[in-house]
Symmetry: C2
Subunit: 107 residues, 2 copies
């Protein structure tokens, strides 16, 4: 079965668009919770924090506190892990399918 407890949390965390957007926002540099909330004005501050907690639970976001600020850092390793253990094989298979298709069209 494909579901370790760890990668299951990662898949779940990635399943919400807003959380993927948060990760994208953290790609360039770490940001405080406040900065992130400002970046997503459509959502309530509590909602953003709830999503951050999910990302933290999946180890996709690592938190460092400085005084009264909370710095959220992106951790891309869990994504690499699910890629290595799961997605890579499918992507490779997709390439095979495309190659076969290409060959068929040329033949």
């Amino acid at each position: 079965m494909s579901s370790g407890d760890e990668s299951d949390r990662v898949f779940k965390a990635l399943s919400a668009a807003i959380r993927r957007d948060i990760l994208d926002a953290l790609k360039d540099r770490p940001q405080t919770t406040g900065e992130l909330c400002a970046r997503f004005p459509a959502l309530d501050r509590c909602t953003v924090m709830q999503h951050l907690r999910v990302l933290e639970g999946a180890d996709l976001v690592i938190v460092k506190r400085e005084g009264r600020e909370r710095w959220n850092h992106l951790n891309p390793l869990p994504i690499k892990h699910i890629y290595d253990r799961w997605i890579g094989a499918y992507a490779g298979r997709a390439v095979e399918v495309l190659d076969r298709l290409k060959t068929d069209l040329e033949g």
Copy 2:
């Protein structure tokens, strides 16, 4: 923002362990709905079909009917797409992080 309607459906589809297990079961060869239900005895037949519908909606499973049988085929392309457009960058970044870590440890 990271969320096209298409890849959002794919991420959502991949977020449930049972659906990833179904995709794994379809990796080797297409299977009928009945075969899949037999493979997951813990779940009700209706539940399996509901999950198949989600996978079909994400274009991860392609259905071909033959008489009274329904053959479910894996389509790995959507996974390749989200890899190309999204996951690859994170996996690459993870490698960077690891490299930097390795260099730091050696230095």
